[in-house]
């Protein structure tokens, strides 16, 4: 079955097994042309395996991978028009920076002089022209990172694969590189597939994110969808911080669910497809969508006692022991201090949810 020529990558029922161990359990996903797509998940979730299967370093046990409509699962890596930025950069230590960047172009049949000329332009793009004659060992981690990027982009791949390329950089450099990568992607118009375990990185950079865990895809969506409407426990817990409550569902209507806690306290929240009345599930609510008050704002307000205030720069995290339920985190932004109150530890308070903040989750 021919694929859609306008989709960059089409993974169809891809399975990867190592002996008895299944690293990837039948994954299907489509990555659009010119998209910044991120595979996000904890280590061992299969995200790197999937990336390496697209690159050709791992063979596909079952299934097919299409690149702009053509099956590539059986092609050796050097025949696939995709390039990779490796986690440890994998720059050739015995070659100069310029020769590193020119290597792929030469291999594609460009003359040595033409390859070097184009490599020079690529180095200009990543602002490393003055280092062209140096060896990789003479460059800092951040510079090596940019060389690896220039080397992978130089042959103008149809898809660029990035395997946790920023994980070895310090926080400040990482933030700067995140922006630079995003700009490069827009400038070059090349489809990027980015692998990371850093959810913040994924949210910042991606057009769409596939959240993976234990060899399965948990959710596929835009950063906002993933953050605001997590499908299940894993996604809600892995992306950002969240508060979880065990609830019993009484009724579901028009996407809204009424439910109650173990002690009978009633709550209303957004439901999710697949959950009906009678289900015992978890409800999630993000800490920044909670606020505290000394008197109950509504019937659903949860009673609790402030355990601790933690100052984290831009905002304050308050740990609240709920009278009926676990410990909650309430985050109050410094800029919100005018209309949201902070209470001293030990204060008896009520925790209130903003409208539509709570969501039911599949297990």
């Amino acid at each position: 079955m021919p694929g859609n020529r306008t989709d960059a990558i089409d993974v169809r029922d891809a399975v990867k097994r190592y002996g008895d161990f299944t690293a990837l359990k039948r994954i299907s996903l489509t990555i659009k042309d010119n998209e910044f797509f991120t595979l996000l998940g904890p280590s061992g979730c299969g995200k790197t395996t999937l990336l390496r299967m697209i690159a050709g370093f791992e063979d596909v046990t079952e299934g097919e991978i299409l690149l702009y409509g053509d099956g590539i699962a059986k092609l050796p890596p050097h025949q696939r028009p995709v390039n990779t930025v490796f986690q440890n950069y994998a720059l050739f230590p015995h070659m100069t920076i310029l020769d590193n960047v020119a290597f792929g172009l030469e291999m594609r049949g460009k003359s040595k002089s033409a390859a070097r000329k184009r490599a020079g332009e690529m180095l200009e793009l990543v602002q490393l022209s003055q280092f062209a004659a140096r060896k990789p060992s003479q460059l800092s981690g951040g510079q090596q990172q940019r060389v690896a990027l220039a080397r992978a982009l130089a042959p103008q791949p149809k898809v660029l694969l990035l395997d946790e390329p920023l994980s070895a950089l310090d926080l400040k450099l990482r933030k700067a590189m995140q922006l630079e990568l995003k700009h490069l992607q827009r400038e070059t118009g090349i489809t990027f597939i980015f692998v990371t375990h850093d959810q913040e990185e994924a949210l910042t950079m991606s057009d769409r994110i596939a959240v993976m865990s234990a060899g399965e895809m948990q959710q596929l969506g835009t950063p906002t969808e993933i953050y605001e409407q997590p499908r299940n426990m894993f996604v809600a817990d892995f992306i950002g911080e969240t508060n979880l409550l065990e609830v019993s569902v009484d009724q579901v209507m028009n996407g809204r669910a009424t439910c109650h806690l173990g002690g009978g306290h009633a709550l209303t929240c957004n439901s999710v497809e697949g959950i009906g009345a009678g289900a015992k599930v978890h409800m999630s609510v993000r800490p920044e969508r909670l606020f505290m008050s000394d008197v109950p704002v509504e019937a659903e307000s949860l009673k609790g006692r402030v355990a601790e205030n933690i100052f984290v720069g831009t905002d304050i995290s308050t740990l609240v022991d709920l009278a009926e339920g676990p410990q909650f985190i309430v985050r109050t932004s410094n800029s919100d201090r005018g209309n949201k109150r902070i209470f001293e530890p030990g204060s008896e308070i009520f925790v209130n949810m903003e409208l539509g903040a709570g969501r039911l989750l599949m297990d």
Partner: protein, 309 residues
């Protein structure tokens, strides 16, 4: 590297400054007794006069070197012409040792690469298997090789039985037999350093090369070989140098026509027929050649390192 370590620990090094000279004494003693002493003795002997029943007369003479390079007729009274006999033997030694080195590289490199790419826990087993034959004495191994290769030996029997050949191939007493013998004698000296280098090689570089459209062969040539070159150079030197001075393989497998410098030297010190100064001179010439080759390769390596920054 040594300089870095010394400067890093300079405070402590100062404390032991006085003791350092004494601590180095054992190394100097070993070097003196086992290296400089014998070589110095050889150097002196090569400039002495020969005693006819072996041994030397303590009278300075250039006769040994003269005999090596010049022919002055049967009675030593004709005008000197170049003596080709020994130069030919010398040249043959270089050629044979070179061929043996190439052979061990061609077989040893894939072997080392194979071992280095096995799972980590089975690599020592493979290394052990490679070294097992070398627990047997070199003489016995070389003689066995002669039995294997001779006209009525198992190799020829096998080839005839498969119908590949009708009559036995004469391998023993050829240059090739000597090369095979040398190759087999020193193969581990190639495999082990190359293995050590390949094991340290970062295989993600090969992936990067494949990712950038390089075929397997190109990756080997442009990425793997430059990275493991120090191991390959060490292996080549470790095979080439002893091969050149070897006498067992040429004597047993090569026959009289394939005489090498090692055998020539051996003859000079055996029984009463020998000529000690001549043997010493030939050894010195061999040593000089080897040193030149080592210095050349060291210079090449330094040049490559410098370029590598």
């Amino acid at each position: 590297m040594a300089a870095g370590a010394a400067s890093g620990g300079s405070a402590r090094a100062d404390t032991y400054k006085d003791a350092r000279g004494w601590l180095l004494l054992p190394s100097w003693a070993v070097l003196g007794i086992f290296v400089l002493g014998p070589v110095g003795m050889m150097l002196i002997y090569s400039f002495l006069t020969k005693e006819f029943r072996g041994g030397v007369i303590w009278e300075p003479s250039l006769a040994a070197y003269d005999q090596f390079f010049f022919d002055r007729g049967l009675f030593g009274d004709e005008p000197p012409t170049i003596e080709w006999t020994y130069i030919t033997i010398f040249w043959r030694s270089i050629w044979q040792a070179g061929a043996a080195t190439l052979l061990s590289l061609l077989i040893g490199f894939p072997t080392a690469y194979f071992i280095a790419t096995r799972p980590e826990n089975v690599r020592p087993v493979w290394v052990f298997l490679i070294t097992i034959p070398y627990w047997v004495n070199l003489l016995i191994r070389t003689v066995s090789m002669k039995f294997l290769l001779r006209d009525q030996g198992p190799l020829n029997d096998f080839l005839i039985s498969t119908g590949l050949i009708d009559s036995p191939i004469h391998i023993v007493n050829t240059n090739f037999a000597v090369q095979l013998g040398l190759f087999y004698s020193y193969l581990p000296f190639m495999v082990l350093p190359v293995y050590a280098a390949v094991e340290r090689y970062n295989f993600s570089l090969s992936e990067a090369a494949a990712d950038l459209y390089a075929s397997k062969w190109t990756t080997l040539r442009r990425i793997v070989l430059p990275a493991v070159k120090p191991g390959v150079v060490a292996g080549c030197i470790l095979v080439f140098v002893p091969s050149m001075g070897s006498f067992l393989a040429p004597d047993l497998l090569g026959g009289a026509k394939n005489f090498m410098i090692g055998s020539l030297i051996e003859e000079q010190f055996k029984g009463n027929a020998g000529n000690w100064p001549f043997g010493a001179a030939a050894s010195m010439i061999l040593l000089t050649m080897v040193l030149i080759i080592l210095m050349f390769s060291a210079r090449q390596q330094a040049k490559a390192d410098k370029a590598g920054g």
